[in-house]
């Protein structure tokens, strides 16, 4: 759901640039306290992997395709702040190098996918993990958070389109949330498969808040 130039009016893309700049600055401060040395190469690998995965559009219903956003995946491995930075890195490179997402819309795209999708998705993941303490809790949390992260990002996108006067909210909201509720199932499946695999081979790579607050 990379917004191109032209979809958002100035009353929307300028404020979202400021909000995202603030969100990234805050994330950098928080991440600098939580990042451990061994997580730095993982940031490179996760950025590369999510960039690559975002090229892989899979078909969904009605002649529409979707691809992994990867926000919840990045946050489960790196924590919400480094995860948001990784998604921002991917979005900035896609915008500047590949014209995927407009430069004016970059703030909104970072807000939707790196901040709301990634940090919001991680918040949902934490809530479920705290509620379901069993071992299956982590997988339930992963699937639900990944699915919901796509839906809430699409809702944010719909609100921005409406504020811009591009399309009324009564039309944008059900259309965006509806199609992304379907695309998000793919997000849930792919994220669960990867987190399940990491849990098997390198469970220590899963980010745990307590362990990193030295």
């Amino acid at each position: 759901m990379h917004i191109p130039d032209g979809f958002l009016a100035m009353n929307t893309w300028i404020p979202t640039w400021f909000i995202s700049a603030g969100g990234i600055a805050y994330s950098i401060r928080a991440a600098s306290r939580q990042l451990r040395d061994r997580m730095i190469p993982l940031m490179g690998v996760m950025s590369a992997f999510i960039f690559a995965a975002q090229m892989l559009n899979f078909p969904v219903a009605g002649g529409t395709s979707g691809h992994l956003l990867g926000g919840v995946l990045a946050a489960i491995l790196l924590g919400p702040f480094s995860g948001a930075i990784v998604i921002s890195v991917v979005l900035i490179a896609q915008c500047l190098i590949f014209q995927d997402g407009g430069l004016t819309a970059l703030g909104a795209n970072i807000l939707n996918m790196a901040i709301i999708g990634t940090m919001g998705g991680y918040f949902i993941y934490s809530l479920i993990r705290n509620a379901v303490k069993s071992k299956s809790g982590i997988m339930i949390a992963t699937f639900v958070a990944a699915w919901l992260s796509v839906v809430i990002a699409s809702i944010a996108c719909a609100i921005e389109l409406a504020i811009s006067g591009t399309v009324p909210i009564s039309k944008a909201l059900p259309a965006m949330a509806g199609i992304h509720a379907i695309i998000g199932i793919g997000e849930g499946i792919i994220t669960s498969l990867i987190v399940g695999f990491v849990l098997k081979v390198r469970p220590d790579l899963i980010y745990e808040r307590k362990a990193s607050n030295e």
Binding site: H2, P41, M46, V89, Q99, V167
Partner: protein
Amino acid sequence: MNKKEIIIGLVAALVLAGIISIFASSWPDGLEKVAENLGFIEKGEGDPALASPIPDYTMPGLKNEKFATSIAGILGTIIVFGFGYGIGALIKYRKS
């Protein structure tokens, strides 16, 4: 992550972006589809605010479209790996 795991991760990403990407669906994504259905897709079809060197993941100057996508994907993966790694290192070590 040790060196071997970093290389495995990077190679996996390169395979996805360089080979599997050729088989990706070219149907419109969720937002594009909504824009088509609700009639505002043409708003996004003007000139972009910034001309990118490799628009639409297609390496310019290459006739074979699949090959152009593959090269764009490989280049992008390497650049983004360096960008993510570099930012991580900067955040961690800027204070010390």
